[in-house]
Amino acid sequence: MFSKRATIQNTVTALYCYLTSEVLETTRMKRARLAYTLTSGLALLVFIVSVYPDAHALPSYARQTGQQCSSCHVGGNWPQLTPWGRFFKLSGYTAGKSLFGDKGIGLNYVPVGMFGQFGATWASQPNDSQGQPVVSPNGSVSAYEFTGEVGTKLTDFLGVFYEYQLGNNFPGWKGSGGPADVRAVHFFHPGGQELLVGIDSNNNPTSQDVWNTLPSWGYPFYTSPQAMSGPASPMISGLGGQAASVGVYALLNRQVYAEVSMYRVATNFFRWMSAGTSLTGGGANYLDGYNPYWRLYWTEQHGPHVLMVGTSGMHSAVYPNSAAPSGPTNVFNDYGFDTQYDYLGGSNKASVRFSYIYENQSWNAGFPQGASSTLNGNIQSLNLNGTYTLHDRWMFNAGFFVNNGSNNAALYAVTSPSGSQLTASPNTTGYTLELDRNLTQNLKLTMQYNGFYKFNGLTSNIDGMGRSPGDNNTLWMSLFVAF
């Protein structure tokens, strides 16, 4: 155990070392300057917002509704949603005050918010057996992300949500349009029933969903950009920032939800949503035409118990070469099943979530070109996780995941230094443990541990140089600030 004085001393020393190394190393000077600019920018914004009358600074929806984070987010722990938070989203963010003043002039509140994330990541084995870094820099305190957010009710029927993220890519920073969501809604009352109908446009399949089971808002809710992950994931989770949708949804008696959205590449009219993201760069998924996404769920609440059972899916036709989007395409069909149970009793709450996605792949374009080793393939992605919230301050999370798929040497092959192929399998299995502490509703400390049982289909020697899956385990400590 550390004494308090030793702790403070160590902290000061660590900070001093960090700061001086930033100044001394010329290669880091730019980053330091950027960090300084961002920090002073953040400080300025904090100051402005704090003196703005009747606006107490927090992400904009809190200002719009006058409510605290915990009204919409379970225990204040974003992005988990409470029943009210889900309804707020589906009703187009239209509760509370409109952005514009009554006489059409002036603003009722500041419709922007800011997030910052700082921390450090440690890998179990940051270097391979030859001394080459796998996770770098290891254990150094860094800024991870700065996000600006605009979210507001425009009229009784129209609301918007938009984030722009500046993320640390280790090395280098990259700006990109984050989740973007525009909704127009109307309530119908046929025969004493309630039917909420909405039109939605967003830039990431499943980001419009209100549950924490599908990829966009699923567990783990945040991970270190330095953390390792398996090589295969279904296409439905690989289109964020590159696609844009137009969809329609309906919610009957707040119990049955159905949605169909059509996704296309985020060009032209939709470009603003994904500003900063290259649609034609390497690794980009350039969609051909309009691709349907569908979602159906049923939910029931009895007292503090909430249950949801749902299904979702997507058909994606993707050009093999995003730089030259023409000709035949690869086709991915995703089918998902998910369920979530929430217990919302007082300040101690619990959630259990399950999601399974099966993807059927047809490499019609990639196979003839050699980009895939097989004409057909599949991916199975399974997630089982839960959260226990204690006194709305402590969050204990645990998750188990399986990301499996058919063998494909062109996509997943790992070769040893001697040139022999070790594996062609993407199968990766592991777990994520997380402990969160809300200090105030603006400050959250997170400690997350990512562990692997199996990596690339192997349970040992995953790089031909003796590395074990457990060597890829990472510990992440972070401080999340929201204003």
Binding site: S50, G66, P304, G346, H391, N442
Partner: protein
């Protein structure tokens, strides 16, 4: 593409223009927009809250509902930002915390400020005209099972008379939406266990944090310890893998 953009935009505009104002009729068969989009999220469309944590409003006197909302509106605006309040407006932050119940602070005071007088009237009229369901969630301000609307009204009225009704404490202090307000005397053995685990992990700064008597999330006297927790978190480097 442009044709598509135009049709989308015009579609959205058409929807906005043709949407009739929901509060047109006097005798309603459908709820007013403020009820559909705001109040019903917790209190239910017909005023029978699904969750036991939220008060059911069905059948309450309209004047009582209006009076209650007026009291929420008269209360100091809740800080939607604890940290900034603590940093820049410490005195007022304490005042606000002292004058609101946790539930009111987290959920109702703020949204009451966002309502127009017309919306309050409509919502009160709607809910007073609804029939209470005995099976529905009980009022957070009343013992479960004791409430016909008449009794509920009388109780409410009595309490409202000359008293600070924002301070009515619920028999179940639970808050479904979850304010960030811990009762320092209501710490379970689990909580103590966690504190011990924390200490052994080197989070010594937190121990004091939790011992503090002012621990309601707004005027944390232990907030200075927040900085220490960051320090500790940095220090974790030495015990990390």
């Amino acid at each position: 593409m442009n044709r598509f953009a135009v049709s989308l935009t015009s579609g959205v505009i058409a929807l906005l223009v043709t949407s009739p104002p929901a509060f047109a009729q006097k005798v309603r068969s459908i709820p007013p927009r403020i009820v559909t989009g705001n109040c019903s999220g917790c209190h239910g469309i017909h005023g029978n809250a699904q969750s036991p944590e939220f008060p059911s409003l069905a059948g309450l006197d309209a004047s009582y509902i209006e009076q209650r909302i007026a009291a929420f509106r008269a209360a100091p605006t809740p800080p939607s930002d604890e940290l900034l309040y603590w940093l820049f407006n410490h005195a007022e932050s304490k005042k606000i915390a002292a004058s609101n119940s946790p539930e009111a602070l987290a959920n109702m005071v703020g949204i009451a400020h966002a309502l127009t007088p017309q919306e309050i009237k409509e919502a009160a009229a709607w809910y007073s005209a609804q029939k209470p369901k005995p099976s529905a969630g009980h009022s957070a301000n009343l013992p479960p099972g004791s409430m016909t609307s008449k009794i509920a009204n009388e109780k409410h009225q009595a309490k409202a008379n000359g008293q600070d009704i924002l301070h009515e404490s619920a028999p179940v202090t639970a808050n479904a939406m979850g304010g960030l307000n811990d009762d320092p005397f209501d710490q379970s053995s689990w909580f103590r266990l966690v504190q011990n685990l924390q200490l052994s992990a080197g989070y010594s700064g937190y121990a004091k944090f939790n011992e503090g008597t002012h621990h309601d999330g707004l005027n944390q006297d232990a907030s200075s310890n927040n900085l220490i927790s960051v320090g500790l978190w940095l220090n974790f480097q030495t015990v990390g893998p």
